[in-house]
């Protein structure tokens, strides 16, 4: 479970990027986070990854208060959270297989396991045939699939996606969203930041709307008080 209590974040003296946010997200939920540009969505994601510290309030993930996680335990904490970005962030000098294997190497998996696990992830995201391609030889949608495979290969319980469809056309966006839903059906908590309100409306999931750092609505059925 993810629980935020009175969380505020200010980058500098000025308007806080997040202001007294209270949220609870249950295990296995699928949540959209929407809001106009600069409303604090990415800041929220960074707080959940412990890339940033809240100025005030507490964040508890799976029973652990992030403020109390020691520096040297951050890597272990992050292995339980997969993350995907708008710009894919793949390693350009490595092919699809190596990009995904990299995530496993980083956490010290033996090669034997990697050789089994990576092809399984690739077929899950539908890229089994392209495992030797380099990122620049792939479409945006395909690159995002690789990024998702990389985020999930270490079997995190939470997947954070910050505008995963921001660079994709509507067909590709839909494919990625369906993939995320599939992942959610396998039991992973999925949190998706998006500007794509069409998709949000159709998918009928929980939608949290943030405006100027404040949660202005939290609805169960795909409604958002925010119009792009």
């Amino acid at each position: 479970m993810i629980k935020l209590e009175h969380v505020s974040k200010s980058y500098s003296a000025g308007i806080p990027a997040l202001n007294d946010v209270n949220l609870e997200i249950e295990d296995g939920e699928f949540v959209f986070i929407v809001g106009s540009s600069g409303s604090g969505k990415s800041t929220l994601i960074k707080l959940l990854l412990k890339e940033l510290e809240p100025t005030e309030g507490s964040i508890v993930i799976n029973g652990k208060n992030l403020r109390k996680i020691r520096r040297r335990h951050i890597p272990k904490f992050r292995r339980n959270i997969g993350v995907v970005f708008q710009d894919f962030r793949l390693l350009k000098d490595r092919n699809v297989y190596e990009n995904i294997a990299f995530a496993q190497k980083v956490i010290g998996q033996p090669t034997k396991n990697i050789k089994k696990k990576v092809p399984a992830m690739l077929s899950m995201v539908g890229l089994a045939a392209k495992y030797r391609s380099y990122p620049k030889e792939l479409s945006g949608g395909e690159q995002q699939r690789v990024a998702i495979a990389r985020a999930l290969v270490n079997e995190p319980s939470i997947l954070l996606a910050d505008e995963p469809t921001g660079n994709l056309d509507s067909n590709n966006a839909w494919d990625i969203m369906k993939l995320l839903e599939e992942i959610h059906e396998h039991g992973t908590t999925v949190i998706v930041v998006t500007h794509n309100l069409d998709i949000v409306k159709v998918m009928k999931k929980r939608v949290i709307t943030i405006q100027k750092g404040v949660v202005v609505s939290d609805s169960k059925q795909g409604d958002s008080s925010y119009e792009d």
């Binding site: 990854l49 890339e51 520096r71 040297r72 890597p75 272990k76 904490f77 992050r78 292995r79 993350v83 962030r89 390693l91 990299f102 995530a103 190497k105 980083v106 956490i107 010290g108 033996p110 090669t111 990389r150 270490n154």
Partner: protein, 301 residues
């Protein structure tokens, strides 16, 4: 650390070195120059030191007595000198012995000339040869002996040893200065090499951190890079010096057999048994220091 992690880090470290080849090359070259200079000075100092030791072993004070001094008084003087703590050994040379050894040296092959002397021309040259534990105490001892009653003259042969010791001091100072400057340049270059490596891999490092790589895994490749540069920068000049030194020793021994016998060289094997570990530790140490410093500055994980 897992074996996997270790090989991964070493592999990445090597990759870094090749990826910014020019910087790595410059670093290794500077490091080599630095260690080469260090080696040259080390060799010089070691050899001068040995020369000092050789000279020191032969250094003695010679004590002559006033003409016609009684034998008992000479004995007393000898006992006085022997009591001094800085004295290693004292040998009495009678007038006859002095003349004999003089004849040996100066009339070698023409012993007939010496026959012309019916009386011992060195009648008043009975003396003590006093050997010291440490030449640096010689001046004090000479002053003491000069003030003993019955002593006519004290001769000393410290000058050579003094000059050599002085020379070694200057050599050490100059070499320390030069080496220090070179060390700074080497650290600076390694610093830059690693910094370039870090900036080239910024993206990759950011991803690694998000995936949950430990600080160690992020940093270790750069440390490996520094160590490899340092080790290469030490190994190259060591090999070069070894070959050169061997050649020079042989050459000098052949061409100047006279000098060769007077001024021994430290054996190459003996010399490099001391120099190699020092140079390697120095090289690897600088590499390690340079890379760790850069990591602290540019890699706030």
């Amino acid at each position: 650390m897992r074996i996997n992690t270790f090989f991964y880090s070493v592999g990445q470290g090597l990759k870094n070195i090749f990826r910014n080849g020019m910087f790595s090359l410059a670093s290794i070259a500077t490091m080599s120059a630095c260690i080469f200079m260090f080696g040259v000075f080390y060799i010089l100092i070691a050899n001068v030191n040995m020369a000092v030791q050789n000279v020191e072993q032969g250094v003695a004070i010679t004590v002559f007595f006033e003409a016609g001094l009684e034998e008992s008084r000479i004995k007393e003087i000898g006992e006085d000198i022997e009591k001094r703590t800085e004295v290693k050994e004292i040998v009495f040379i009678s007038a006859e012995e002095a003349w004999d050894s003089f004849k040996d040296v100066y009339f070698e092959g023409n012993e007939d000339y010496a026959e012309g002397f019916t009386e011992n021309p060195l009648e008043d040259f009975a003396n003590y040869e006093v050997y010291l534990k440490d030449v640096s105490q010689q001046t004090g001892l000479v002053t003491y002996i000069q003030n003993i009653e019955g002593v006519r003259e004290v001769k000393q042969s410290q000058a050579v040893a003094d000059t050599l010791t002085e020379f070694n001091k200057i050599l050490s100072l100059v070499s320390s200065g030069i080496i220090l400057i070179l060390l700074c340049v080497a650290v600076f270059l390694i610093n830059n090499t690693v910094a370039v490596g870090i900036s080239v891999r910024k993206e990759e490092i950011a991803i690694m951190k998000l995936i949950g790589a430990t600080d160690f895994l992020v940093r270790f490749p750069f440390i490996v890079e520094g160590i490899i540069i340092g080790a290469a920068g030490a190994a190259i000049p060591l090999g070069l010096l070894f070959v050169l030194y061997d050649k020079i020793v042989l050459y000098v021994a052949e061409k100047f057999s006279l000098v060769g016998s007077m001024m021994d060289f430290v054996q190459p094997q003996v010399l490099f048994r001391g120099l190699a570990p020092v140079a390697l530790i120095l090289g690897v140490g600088i590499g390690l220091f340079g890379s760790m410093w850069t990591i602290r500055k540019h890699l706030k994980v």
